[in-house]
């Protein structure tokens, strides 16, 4: 029983700050629903439902952390996990559905049971690192394009009392797939570079191997990109051997640490993200302002820079090897060499911004293409440098990291939209020049501060949480 409780409480212990916030959200939702009268009943229920769904995301993240074959060797692990799952299901699924029933009737309660099961399955699938979890967004976007007659035809089916049963069955299937994904029968995939910019969809999903594509097409694309990276590394090595200049050394270091930052890697990224942006652009169509969509596109182009913050701790054990290979004069020089190699991420991010924004413009408003390209040319380079600087300066503390990451993300979005709005409103000269001055000033300042912080701080060669001496 102790193992069951340990597993049940694991998601809350691992992310206690988030759990506390979710509890507040849940209580807030319930209070709104009960005390806010009919006007706020729906809103309160939605807030509570959202809190519950986020709680399942925490549970999924904790489960992902346990997903290794050794865990299955723990005595009675399956039974303990089933007990913990039953406890969670009772508290965060069945009980809320049961509480809904007296107020809304059995039909809504029954429907909530089915919808809740699907939402839970979706949360667990998403946190397992599966890209399939994101299909829901395609479905949501796709739902906007369902023709009216088809909607009228579907409507009676949506009223069918057996629909929640179908939802339950679908949820069971998704959970089965999630389990297979978390505990696959075969060998685990091999890791990529910790600094390999993954498609942002797969970003930050836990294990060192989560960046590895599993589909056959993705494996082929990845293999093709890797071959390009390998060829580039060999070329750079030959050049450095022939003429060992500092510039050539930096190029070689970039080829080693950032293997995806070469034409093939960019093409793979553009293909994946281009498809997602195209779907989004087509979905929102003419209804959205091109500035807004291009802003999103540029935002996506910048997300790859986050790999510096995510990958550096995982790269630390390999730094010993680099230290001996590069044979720097000083520790500070070594850190500066590493830091400057990260600038190699910028061309990919800036080029991606051009590709994605141009694609969005071509799909939504082709006449706006020149303006969008100009705006991207003004905004993308300083924004990429500033974003890289902010990710480099991420603090070690997990909570602070999350706060800084959130501020960076919101700052990016704000800058992009503000920049687009100013250039659109005042033109390239009167709108663009001030944006150029402000963004570059901030970017250079942020980069300088991040560089100084990085170089002045002691460099650890130890992997995270393994600093004790043997």
């Amino acid at each position: 029983m102790r193992a069951t409780w340990t597993l049940a409480l694991l998601p809350l212990r691992q992310a206690w700050v988030a759990a506390l916030l979710l509890l507040l959200m849940l209580v807030g939702g319930v209070v709104l629903a009960l005390a806010g009268g009919k006007a706020l009943y729906g809103g309160g229920a939605m807030l509570a439902a959202l809190a519950l769904w986020f709680a399942w995301l925490l549970a999924g993240t904790a489960l992902k952390g346990l997903a290794r074959k050794e865990t299955l060797l723990l005595p009675e692990f399956h039974r303990a996990l089933a007990g913990a799952a039953a406890l969670w299901a009772l508290l965060f699924w069945l009980l809320p559905c049961a509480l809904l029933t007296p107020h809304f009737g059995i039909r809504i309660g029954w429907g909530a049971l089915g919808a809740g099961a699907l939402a839970i399955a979706w949360a667990l699938l998403t946190t397992s690192g599966s890209r399939s979890g994101f299909l829901i967004w395609v479905l949501i976007i796709g739902a906007r394009f369902v023709p009216e007659p088809l909607l009228l035809a579907i409507a009676p089916a949506l009223q069918n009392p057996l629909l929640p049963l179908a939802a339950l069955l679908l949820a069971a299937l998704i959970l089965h797939i999630t389990w297979q994904r978390l505990f696959p029968a075969g060998d685990p995939p091999l890791p990529d570079s910790p600094l390999l910019a993954p498609e942002p969809m797969r970003r930050g999903m836990g294990s060192a191997t989560s960046n590895v594509p599993r589909g056959k097409l993705m494996q082929r694309l990845n293999g093709w990109s890797e071959a390009g990276a390998s060829a580039l590394l060999l070329r750079q090595a030959a050049r450095y051997h022939a003429a060992p200049t500092p510039a050539q050394q930096r190029a070689m270091l970039r080829a080693l640490l950032l293997p995806q930052e070469q034409p093939r890697g960019w093409l793979v990224r553009w293909l994946l993200w281009g498809a997602a942006i195209a779907v989004y652009a087509i979905a929102v169509g003419q209804q959205a302002q091109i500035g807004m969509v291009a802003g999103y596109a540029m935002f996506f182009a910048m997300t790859g820079l986050n790999v510096v913050g995510l990958g550096m701790p995982r790269l630390q054990p390999s730094l010993v090897e680099l230290y001996f290979t590069l044979a720097p004069q000083t520790h500070a020089g070594f850190k500066a060499q590493l830091l400057d190699s990260f600038l190699g991420l910028l061309p990919g991010a800036i080029l991606s911004a051009f590709v994605f924004t141009a694609l969005a413009a071509l799909l939504i408003a082709p006449v706006a293409l020149p303006g969008i390209v100009l705006t991207t040319a003004i905004l993308a380079p300083p924004l990429a440098l500033a974003t890289l600087a902010l990710y480099l300066g991420l603090p070690v503390n997990v909570i602070l990291r999350s706060v800084v990451t959130l501020i960076t993300l919101f700052g990016q979005m704000g800058t992009i939209w503000m920049g687009y709005a100013l250039i659109e409103r005042f033109g390239a000269l009167w709108g663009g020049v001030p944006v150029l001055v402000v963004t570059w000033s901030f970017a250079i300042g942020a980069w300088g501060a991040a560089r100084a912080h990085w170089i002045n701080n002691p460099l650890s060669f130890d992997p995270p949480k393994a600093k004790a001496g043997a």
Binding site: S230, A327, T330, G469
Partner: protein, 306 residues
């Protein structure tokens, strides 16, 4: 080789390869290195012994500048180790305890990348070792077993023909055949003028096989450093037995260890200490006991002293 170069090499072999003075290093309030002094003469093969958690890895990492010291001074290859100082690092080979390097790379790419940085790189040796140890250049490092990764780390460390080779439990993941191969390859390469090797290990038979000097790390200090031949010649287990047996081992000044085994008193003694033999005989006479001296192998010595 010109006269100047010969003189320089000769001067270098006179200098210690490594010299550490009053090293202090703590983790979470626990002093792992306690004012440790250590000097490793150039041209020696030194086996660093110590119990789990004694601080062997910490010591080696501090010596190479990979872990900051709380206090103390280190000189490596004649220069202070306060900074890496460029090309000096290329004269050092290091095989860490756990080999985590660049798991996303293929063996061939990794070696090509590394070789490009070195002026001295023995490609023939690399090819020979890759062949002998069946390491496929096209294989990803992440796909290698722990033992194969260790072999690759060893290949990489040997290729630049280092003057100082530091190996942190280099054979821990190797099978006995690979271990023998490794030592058979390594020792001729490092038993050359000006070459120094330090390796930490728990496998004392390997140290005996390579006739290494033994350095014992205990309680945060180097408690003992002697050539193996010297240990063999002078270290003995002394047994005292008598009819009624002993209830406790009588005190013997200068004994390195004292114990009671099946009612017999057992001591580890260093006969290089001229006072030891007479002291033993006097103790045997006083206790009315028979004295027997038995040779000690390195493992027994490690168990007794570590």
């Amino acid at each position: 080789m010109g006269i100047d170069a010969t003189l320089a090499a000769a001067r270098e072999t006179e200098l210690p390869a490594l010299s550490a003075h009053a090293l202090l290093k703590s983790f979470d309030g626990r002093e792992v290195l306690q004012r440790l002094d250590w000097e490793v003469p150039a041209g020696r093969v030194v086996g660093l012994l110590g119990r789990n958690g004694a601080g062997k890895t910490t010591l080696l990492r501090c010596l190479l500048g990979l872990s900051p010291l709380d206090a103390g001074n280190i000189e490596v290859l004649g220069e202070p180790m306060d900074e890496p100082r460029g090309q000096r690092l290329h004269r050092i080979g290091y095989v860490p305890q756990s080999f985590d390097l660049f798991p996303w790379m293929r063996i061939g790419d990794f070696l090509t990348f590394t070789a490009a940085f070195y002026k001295r790189w023995d490609s023939a040796l690399v090819e020979r070792l890759l062949g002998e140890w069946q390491l496929d250049r096209k294989k990803k490092i992440a796909a290698l077993s722990q033992g194969q990764r260790q072999m690759l780390a060893i290949v990489r460390a040997l290729a630049p023909d280092p003057d100082l080779l530091v190996l942190d439990e280099p054979v821990a993941s190797l099978d006995p055949i690979a271990r023998r191969d490794f030592l058979a390859t390594l020792i001729p390469l490092m038993r050359r003028p000006g070459k120094t090797m330090i390796f930490s290990t728990h496998i004392t038979t390997d140290l005996e096989r390579v006739e290494a000097d033994i350095a014992l790390l205990r309680s945060g200090r180097i408690a003992l450093q002697r050539p193996l031949a010297d240990l063999r010649a002078h270290f003995r287990r002394a047994w005292l037995s008598r009819a009624g047996g002993f209830s406790a081992a009588p005190t013997l000044d200068g004994a390195l260890d004292a114990d009671l085994v099946e009612a017999r008193a057992a001591y580890v003694v260093d006969l290089a200490d001229a006072r030891m033999q007479p002291a033993l005989q006097a103790l045997a006479a006083r206790e009315d006991a028979t004295l027997q001296l038995a040779p000690l192998d390195l493992e027994d010595l490690f168990v007794a002293l570590a």
